[in-house]
């Protein structure tokens, strides 16, 4: 698999349509109305032309990344929004808006064009109640099958019993699908299993020791995070929630996702000094998160709580100590504020800088230790190379991002491609590996730790020399934020696991009208069946570990 995938129109070096008018011209009659989102032009289309529109945008305009699908019930209509962008140029964005009528909310599925739409549309069906025509498998995804009604729809009655028993729900006339002479065996891996990294349930069909079919069943940790954010005010109340999405030490990265979306929505400029602190803190979170990923991946392959897991936890503890100094917390930081961060670096600053310098001095040796213990081990290589293969086209179609995409050779990193914070001022590289297998994903994480250390070091240099009277940690932000009615924005940041996007529709009040989280783990987990069908159970477990999912973020 090489990076030299020919783009659809490789011969003709024509400029791809980017502005709203150019895209509208390309789509022609398909567009029935135009909208303007803060991040991208929006095109309203009819519900039966979804596939045609998306296919044309993908093939002729290079929009090959369906980042997110947001669904919502409005006063007069149901609406699905497809947030499109491009792996080659993240700053080209387009929103495709598909309204459907209230009495018959049926819309064409985008799954045949973008496979990632499978789960996103299932979620929309589950929570809002839009039916997607031509969808291969429109089941509930987050809620149990026996749930009654769609909780984010407007006429949902919370006082009614929400779940019926399986017995009442089951069709008594349904056939028993078990074969008398079948060669396969159905195994429930999870929701309580040593290798599922949380409450994930993988419905697995085994043929001997080999995996014949895999179906991840999620939703055990669904905590209505989106709806909770909709009931809180922009200014202060939402910020604690992102810490709880990917709680495995990427708190600041998640906070940044909300901060970025809300700041762009409200036109807030963040002072440079605060951006540097944010960048540094976020990279510490990335290191902590990757350490945990490497440790648990080794745990999945090695099989016991061995030295590597303990070493990784030890190095993560050091990062957490730094973060505790900075934010006052080890996991649930709540450190960012709209327009900056909550407080300046801890005093005495010299001690804090020295603590970080010490950490950075030790880090290369620690990473070398991991290479000694893990990546150069022949048995580990035999276990991970050429297993869990995820070709780049498949990864793109599933909307895989972060180390999973970069392990498949996709050169895509929002920190560089859609710069925010202080990243574009610093010297660092986007890591890619072309192996497309479990080993590549492991390598990408280990190498990214080194890049993060580079970023931190440069931030540190800047912070040390920053003049004392210019340490501006927060912009002047009004106490109450009321973005204009019907402004919509979709903004993403590069979290530890990939592209973490937030869609906010303002409704003129101090609370979001719709708050949607695009979780990288959610999209990455979708690739599991692709990677592990036909392989052995241990490889399936290793692939799951290499995806580095956190169920808190998958289920939200």
């Amino acid at each position: 698999m090489s990076l030299e995938e020919p783009t659809p129109e490789d011969g003709a070096v024509e400029v791809l349509p980017t502005t709203g008018d150019e895209i509208a011209e390309l789509l022609g009659d398909l567009v029935v109305d135009r909208e303007e989102h803060v991040n991208a032009p929006g095109f309203v289309i009819r519900p039966d032309t979804v596939q045609e529109t998306l296919r044309r945008l993908r093939d002729e305009a290079g929009f090959d990344h369906l980042s997110c699908v947001t669904a919502e019930e409005r006063e007069d209509r149901y609406e699905s929004i497809y947030h499109l962008t491009s792996f080659d140029d993240r700053q080209r964005e387009a929103s495709v808006i598909v309204p459907t009528t209230k009495d018959d909310p049926v819309s064409e599925s985008a799954e045949p064009v973008f496979r990632t739409a499978d789960w996103h549309e299932r979620e929309a069906y589950d929570l809002i109640g839009i039916d997607y025509d031509d969808h291969p498998d429109l089941r509930r995804i987050l809620l149990p099958d026996t749930w009654q009604g769609h909780p984010l729809s407007q006429n949902y009655d919370q006082d009614r019993p929400q779940i019926v028993t399986l017995k009442e729900w089951e069709n008594p006339l349904a056939d028993d699908h078990r074969e008398e002479e079948g060669d396969t065996m159905y195994v429930n891996i999870g929701p309580h299993h040593p290798a599922t990294h949380g409450v994930l349930h993988v419905k697995t069909v085994l043929d001997g020791e080999q995996v014949a079919d895999v179906d991840p069943d999620i939703g055990y940790l669904h905590r209505c995070e989106e709806q909770m954010c909709q009931t809180k005010t922009y200014r202060h109340q939402i910020m604690p929630y992102p810490d709880r999405w990917d709680y495995a030490s990427s708190g600041l990265l998640n906070e940044w996702a909300y901060a970025r979306a809300a700041e762009d929505l409200n036109d807030i400029e963040v002072p440079e000094y605060a951006q540097i602190i944010r960048t540094m803190g976020a990279e510490f979170c990335r290191i902590a998160s990757h350490m945990l990923a490497v440790g648990t991946f080794a745990l999945d392959v090695y099989g016991d709580f061995t030295a590597i897991f303990m070493y990784a936890m030890r190095d993560r503890e050091k990062v957490q100590s730094v973060l505790e100094e900075l934010t006052g917390q080890r996991m649930m930081f709540n450190y960012f504020r709209l327009g900056g961060v909550v407080w300046d670096l801890p005093e005495p600053r010299e001690d804090f800088f020295e603590m970080i310098r010490d950490y950075l001095d030790e880090l290369p040796q620690a990473v070398e230790e991991y290479h000694d213990l893990i990546t150069s081990n022949e048995i580990l290589q035999a276990r991970t190379i050429d297993t869990g293969v995820l070709p780049p086209e498949v990864a793109k179609s599933y909307g895989a991002t972060g180390p999973v995409a970069r392990g498949s050779g996709i050169d895509y990193d929002l920190r560089r491609d859609d710069p925010y914070g202080y990243y574009d001022e610093l010297e660092w590289d986007v890591i890619t590996e072309d192996g497309c297998d479990n080993f590549s994903r492991l390598l990408v994480r280990l190498r990214e730790v080194e890049e993060s250390a580079k970023i931190i070091e440069q931030c540190l240099d800047l912070l040390e020399d920053w003049p004392e009277d210019e340490r501006n940690i927060q912009a002047n932000v009004p106490r109450t934020l009321r973005p204009d009615d019907d402004t919509e924005i979709y903004r993403a940041v590069e979290a530890a696991k990939g592209e973490l996007g937030i869609y906010i529709r303002a409704d003129g009040t101090e609370k979001p009208g719709r708050f949607k989280i695009r979780s990288p783990c959610f999209s990455n987990l979708q690739t599991l069946p692709e990677m592990s069908t036909g392989e052995y159970i241990p490889d399936m477990v290793a692939s799951l570990g290499s995806l580095d999912i956190v169920l808190g973020e998958v289920d939200r």
Partner: protein, 352 residues
Amino acid sequence: MVPLQSQVLLPERIAGLLGLSGTVGQIVGGLLGAFLIANLLLVQTAIAGPWAKRKITAAFTDRIAVNRIGPFGLLTIVTDAVRLLSKELVIPEGVDRPAYDLGPLLVPFSALLGFAVIPMGNGIHLADPETGAVFAFAASSIASLGLVMMGYASNNKYSLLGGLRAIASNIAYEIPLIVTAASVIIFTGTLQMSEIVAQQTEPLLSIAGVTIPQWFAFVNPFAFVLFVIANLAEVGRNPFDVPEAPTEIVAGYQTEYSSVYFVLIYLGEFIHIFLGGALAATLFLGGPAGPFLPGFVWFLIKIWGFYLFTQWARSAIPRLRVDQFLDVGWKGMLVLSFANLVLTAVIVGVIA
């Protein structure tokens, strides 16, 4: 020089001490001797399981481990025994009852049976039949039966997978194990354990006044390495812990066992490790032989050395995938062990 191997076996000596003779003496001496040796091993296991294993793993992973109760946390052994035995014995629905109960009994007892023929030095030797080596391997193989009973009777898919894997691994690695042991038998010309040990006391060579004995690990290091690796697979430790594989199939054949049954399986595993060490010691390391210390102490040092080795492997080496595991067994170990056997036979044939 005190003979390392007293010709009087333990049952006879006990009978002599009690002043019994004839059939009564044999029965009483045999029972008491077996009782003593079984308890000796259970004590080793008690130290190894709840205490030493934790301490060793902790040392490998930069931790401290049990240190709360008693000196060095040693009384943890008592509290753990009480804890494990007082747990509820959960017996799942639909298990195949006699097999489900017998499996956990077979595992430790098969390993204990193997110790009957192991010479432990200072006259601690229960029986010394002419077919001693074969008996030890045969007895330890009964454990496979226990594993398949547990896996099949538990009515659990993970247990079933674990049982199947256990059988596959036992078959794949027992052949190289026994074939390698056979290369030692070719040297000795006898299966009798006391004779195998006695032959290893002969000097191999003398360097600067230090006499190196003719331990088969020195005579044929290649066979020793093969034997230790195959043994590692026999006792199911990394990189060969495929039958249990906690992150894949939860706990394999022992998934559905709790309380006393769990303890029995655990005991069985540890006694198996010690039996593996005892066989390696007897066949390759001169049995209880060693300088200065009494033979029995050397024997304990050797089996604990092997135990330490299994724990080291467990902490440091990744687990192989099940197909790679079988590949190594059938395509690697088997071929090498037969090559070793043929080579040994040729060399012994030429020299003798």
